[in-house]
C-alpha cells in the first residue's frame, strides 16, 4: 500500500501541492496524469522516500522499485553489469532473459555508452524489474521508445509485475491504456 496523507511539498518559494492525499492499495495499477510541473514526479519521489514532505505523511508498505525519468545508468558497464549492480533476485540466466525479452539481445556485450537512447531506456526498465519489489513506480518509462518497443516493454513490465502495485507517470493516455491502469489526474 502506498499513500500520501495531507501532504504539502515546497521547493523554495514554490508550493508544488498542498494538503494532497492519495491512497494506492496493494496490487492496483494507477496512472498519474497532469500538466507539466503539476508534481507527478514529486509524488513518485515522495513515495520512493527520495523526498520528505514539508507537511503531512508519505507511507509505503513493502519494497519499492523505480524507473527514473532519466536513465541513470552506469555508462561504463554493460546492460548486465547495470542489472547485477542492483539485482537482489534472479540468476544471470534470468537477468539475461529479461534483457532479451526487452529486445536487447544484440546489446548484451556492449557498454551502455554504446547504446541508443531507446536501448538505454529499456535497460533502465530491466534494472527496475531486476530487484525485489512490492510496488514499481514508473516515471515516463517509455519516453524515446518507438511504438513497437513501447508495446513490448509494457508487456514485459505487466508480466514481471503481475500482482504488484504499479504507479505510472505519463502524459500519454495511450500508455495508460497499454498498461491497463486506472487514471488519476493531478
Amino acid at each position: 500500500m502506498l499513500s500520501l496523507y495531507k501532504v504539502t511539498k515546497r521547493y523554495g518559494p514554490q508550493t508544488v501541492f498542498s494538503n494532497f492525499s492519495l491512497d494506492i492499495p496493494s496490487g492496483v495499477r494507477i496512472s498519474l496524469m497532469g500538466a507539466s510541473g503539476c508534481g507527478k514526479t514529486t509524488v513518485l519521489r515522495l513515495l520512493a522516500g527520495l523526498e520528505e514532505p514539508d507537511a503531512g505523511q508519505a507511507k509505503r508498505e513493502g519494497t519499492i522499485s523505480l524507473v527514473f525519468q532519466e536513465d541513470r545508468l552506469l555508462n561504463a558497464l554493460t546492460p548486465m553489469g547495470n542489472l547485477r549492480l542492483v539485482a537482489g533476485r534472479g540468476t544471470s540466466g534470468w537477468l539475461e532473459n529479461l534483457l532479451v525479452r526487452l529486445g536487447l539481445e544484440h546489446s548484451l556485450g556492449k557498454s551502455v555508452s554504446e547504446l541508443s537512447g531507446g536501448m538505454k531506456r529499456r535497460v533502465a526498465i530491466a534494472r527496475a524489474l531486476a530487484v525485489n519489489y512490492d510496488a514499481i513506480l514508473l516515471d515516463e518509462p517509455f519516453r524515446g521508445l518507438d511504438p513497437d518497443a513501447r508495446k513490448s516493454s509494457a508487456q514485459v513490465i505487466l508480466e514481471e509485475a503481475q500482482g504488484k502495485t504499479i504507479l505510472l507517470v505519463t502524459h500519454d493516455l495511450a500508455e495508460a491504456g497499454l498498461m491497463g491502469t486506472d487514471v488519476v489526474r493531478l
Partner: protein, 240 residues
C-alpha cells in the same frame, strides 16, 4: 631553448660573482651531482629519506581518504574531525617538527611531518570529490539498496578517484619538501637532511644545488608513480 638561455645566464652570473660559496656555476654543480651519484651513501640516504617520507605519505593517503569517506557519510565524524583538519592545515611545519622532536625519535620525523602535511590535502580533495558525486546515481543506490561495497567500487570510487589523484600528486610534492626540511632540523643519521646540514654548515653551494636536483627528481618520480597507480586503479574500476 629557454633552458639553454637560463643555464648560460647562470654560468655568466657565477663567473661574474666569482665566489663559489655564494653561487656555484652549472658546470661545478654538474660535477658535484656526478660525484654524488657514484657514491653508494647518496643512494642509501635517498632510500632512507624516501622510504620514510613515502611511509608518511601512504599513511596520509589512507587516513585522509578513509576519513573523507566517513565524513561524507556521517555528519558527526565531520563535526568531530573539523578542528583536527583545520589545525593540520594552519599550524606551521616548524611547530610540528619541534613538537615531533620532543615526542618521537628524529628518525621518524620526516614520516610524521609528511603525514601531517599530506593528510589535510588528501582529505580536502577526497571530500570535494565526495561532495561532487552525481546525486542522481546516489538516489539510484538509495532506491535499489545497493550494498556498500558495490556502491563504493562501482559508483563512489570511479567518481572520487580523479580528485584523490590530484590531491595525492600535490601532497607527494609537499611531503618531499616538508620531509626534507624536517630532516634538516632533526638531523637523523644517514638521511638527505643530514647531508644537507653538512652542506649548509660548510657552504658547499655546488653540492646544495646537486642535492636539490636529486630531491626534485625523486619528488617528480614519486608523483609520477602516484599518477600511474591512480590511472591503473581507474582503469581497473572501469574494466570490472
Amino acid at each position: 631553448m629557454a633552458a639553454v638561455f637560463w643555464l648560460a645566464f647562470w654560468q655568466i652570473l657565477a663567473m661574474a660573482l666569482g665566489q663559489e660559496y655564494l653561487l656555484a656555476s652549472p658546470l661545478r654543480v654538474l660535477g658535484s651531482l656526478i660525484k654524488l651519484l657514484v657514491e653508494p651513501t647518496t643512494w642509501l640516504a635517498s632510500l632512507r629519506s624516501g622510504g620514510r617520507i613515502l611511509l608518511g605519505f601512504l599513511g596520509a593517503a589512507a587516513f585522509g581518504a578513509a576519513l573523507a569517506f566517513l565524513s561524507a557519510r556521517y555528519a558527526w565524524v565531520r563535526d568531530f574531525t573539523a578542528p583536527l583538519i583545520s589545525s593540520a592545515r594552519s599550524v606551521p611545519v616548524a611547530s610540528f617538527v619541534i613538537l615531533a622532536i620532543i615526542l618521537v625519535s628524529s628518525r621518524w620525523l620526516s614520516t610524521l611531518v609528511a603525514f601531517v602535511i599530506g593528510f589535510p590535502l588528501i582529505f580536502g580533495n577526497v571530500t570535494e570529490g565526495m561532495r561532487r558525486r552525481d546525486s542522481k546515481l546516489q538516489e539510484v543506490t538509495q532506491v535499489f539498496g545497493v550494498p556498500v561495497i558495490r556502491r563504493l567500487l562501482y559508483i563512489d570510487l570511479p567518481q572520487v578517484l580523479p580528485y584523490f589523484k590530484s590531491g595525492a600528486i600535490n601532497a607527494m610534492g609537499l611531503c618531499w619538501k616538508s620531509g626534507i626540511a624536517a630532516e634538516l632540523i632533526g638531523i637523523p643519521d644517514g638521511t638527505i637532511g643530514e647531508r644537507l646540514y653538512v652542506v649548509k654548515v660548510n657552504l658547499y653551494t655546488a653540492e646544495l644545488f646537486a642535492w636539490t636536483a636529486i630531491i626534485v627528481v625523486l619528488g617528480a618520480l614519486s608523483s609520477r608513480l602516484i599518477a600511474c597507480l591512480s590511472d591503473a586503479a581507474a582503469h581497473a574500476l572501469e574494466k570490472q
